[in-house]
């Protein structure tokens, strides 16, 4: 469904990604891990449309989307749950979710979508009239994921959902992601720093270091590979 070839991205004058290639098949769950500064977020932003590539192809369902603005990509069925959550703080929880289903393919099934998201994250139903800016970090992450799901996407991009959250919440979030995986026929691309949780969820994984792909493998292979630790700690 998603095919990236030879992607080069410069960010603030630095080469964030150099010649990155990866593939995500339909209904596959792919995880990308790697240390800070590896370019993971830049990669997702390049796919979601937040950052323009300097070279390479980004193919979605066969079409090159590298030149399209982010709102066009969203309308094609790509849902990007960004790093740092980026919920609309001055809108209520419900309004955030409604905006998630802004695209015309999702709007008619909004009520259904809300039920489903509330089922996954009951706390959002409780707080649906509250301003999103007043939620805790974990609740905002749930909201951001819920917002992404409301778009009834074909491809879900999750950018470091565990960032800045305590271990218990992270556990809940990852369980929810696993539940999403089980319940829907969704293609998921997850970018994470927490290796084990992220790799356990996936079918296949990539390791990104300083802007390049250094390891690729099936889930079990990567989990057993000590080079993954070296990628993080140099030893």
């Amino acid at each position: 469904m998603l095919k990236i070839a030879g992607l080069n991205v410069s960010y603030g004058g630095l080469h964030a990604l150099a010649d990155v290639s990866l593939e995500v098949g339909e209904a596959e769950f792919v995880t990308i891990v790697g240390p800070n500064g590896a370019g993971k977020t830049t990669l997702l932003k390049a796919i979601g449309g937040g950052v323009p590539p300097a070279g390479g192809r980004i193919e979605y369902r066969g079409e090159d989307i590298a030149g399209r603005p982010s709102h066009m990509r969203a309308r094609l069925g790509i849902a990007h749950v960004p790093e740092g959550r980026k919920v609309f703080s001055s809108l209520s929880v419900l309004e955030n979710l409604e905006m998630g289903s802004y695209r015309s393919a999702a709007r008619p099934r909004r009520a259904e979508g809300l039920d489903s998201v509330y089922g996954l994250f009951p706390v959002l139903r409780e707080r649906r009239a509250q301003l999103a800016g007043s939620l805790s970090g974990g609740e905002q992450q749930m909201l951001a994921i819920g917002r992404g799901l409301m778009a009834r996407p074909d491809l879900l991009l999750l950018d470091e959902p565990s960032q800045g959250l305590g271990p218990r919440i992270v556990q809940i979030i990852f369980e929810a992601i696993a539940a999403i995986r089980r319940a829907r026929r969704l293609t998921i691309l997850l970018v994470e720093q927490r290796v084990v949780e992220a790799l356990e969820l996936c079918d296949r994984g990539y390791v990104l270091e300083t802007g390049r792909v250094t390891l690729v493998g099936e889930r079990d292979t990567l989990l057993a590979d000590p080079r993954v630790q070296r990628a993080y700690l140099g030893a």
Partner: protein, 588 residues
Amino acid sequence: MRRLLPIALVVLVGVALTFTLAERYHHRVLTLVLVWATMGLAWNIISGYAGQTSFGHQAFFGIGAYVTVLLVVTTGLTPWIGMAAGMVAAVVAAVLIGLPTFRLAGIYFALATLAYPLIFRIVMEYLGYQEVPIPMIRDRPAAYMQFRDPRAYDLLALAALGGTLLLSHWIEGSRLGYALRALKANEQAAEAAGVDTFRAKMVAYTLSAAPAAVIGAIYAHAILFVVTPDAVFGVLVIVQTLVVCLVGGVGSKWGPLIGSAIMVPMSETLDATVGDQLPGIQGVVYGAALVLVMLFAPEGIYWRLGALRPARRAVEAPRVSAVAPRIDTTVAGRSPVERGAALLEVRGVSRAFLGLRALDDVSISVRAGEVLGVIGPNGAGKTTLFNVLNGFLLPDAGQVRYRGTPIHGLRPSAICRRGIGRTFQVVRTFPQLTVLDNVMVGAFAHETSPPPARARALAAMAAVGLGRADDVPGALTTLDLRLMELARCLASAPDLILLDEPLAGLARDGVETMAALVRRVRDAGVSVVIIEHTMYAVVQLVDRLIVLDHGRRIAEGRPNDVVRDPAVIEAYLGQRWLRHVEGLRDPC
């Protein structure tokens, strides 16, 4: 002296025009060209060089006009002296206005500057000064700045223009000029390099008020004859000023003159020819000029012409010879700290943002002569720590002591001058300055005049192995940019440098160059604290390593020990990984 030649030429041309133009009307146009060019130059000092766009400079123009004329009317004081009084009044006003207003950020500053001339206008109307005619002096009119010969006003305005050109020229080449251009380009980087930005803005503002007041007084006598609040405090004054600067080129001493020479004759001609049938034609022309300039040439004619020269492309810089020049960071009056002694002490520092604890009771000691690495997962608080050390953030609790004295609460520029330098994760350059000028900004932390600053800057550049003094940052590779930033840092003669991800975006050989440089810097007696993610390099480079996670210090020690510390592995890869790895090693 040779550099004053263009100014002398301009004055000569002005004199020539004064004596060749025949009609009275042409002289009026010439006077106006000179008046608006001078006003533009005055505005340029604060809004062009320093980038603080003021929509209220007409306040000083009006003060100059009113004070001078009112002194004539009430006390009979000659405007030649009254003008000086007007200048003083304007400078005082600039201080009073600037002190509170420069504390406002960006757009609030622009909006606030709008308010002052409006207030002056209303006050003048209220005080009964809706129309103050300049009294005609019968004998010795020249002593009262009243001339029948229009050429005298041309020369007067020309003198004001010449003086303001000299002032601008002096600023451009002075320490203040560097400070202003740096703060315009990147205020944070300027502060970190030792520029007291608030003070620089205040000085520039007061310097810009004086010529505005002088030319306001001249304008009143040469053109107005009757001073009304709207004529000198009104919006058309700032519009004329904006137009001549924007059209001609902001940030250059020639821009306002070019703009004025083009726009003023055009609009005066229009006004004279069709002004009766089409009242307001001037306003339309000026408005159209502003719109067109903003759409198509926002930098103005002067810079547009300059940009026509082909841009240089990024090329690998020639490396300086193998025998690396000494890194000299001595400063008069500052004694070196003994190697191994505590140089920077962080005690119990905490800092939170909206309830999120970015730093939680962190205590670190940096010893003289070491390279200390700070690592940690994303969001661990590393950059927040640097921002506290550097003065960009105040800690909620705790102390930061440098050489024994507390520094938390000082401005970043003051901290820099005490000896702590800093580089940034994404290199912060001053794009319109040359590489040498960029580095000189750092040198001015301790030098007060350009020649020694230049020498220090060149030495710093040689020490890091960077040539290309005359290039602009846009033409540099990532490695050269980082070298430039480091040189700028070294030029401010630090004892301690904070390097924020200096290896990001570099290829293998760039990483090695930077690492070697860091070691040389340490060997020269400058301590280094470095935030990094490129693990293989950090482990080899640092003497000691500290790990932060969720704002807390979780490990400290020799690099090889730290990266094997279970707490650290857990922080980076998660608790499950630790157990997972142990499970792999121990399959039973």
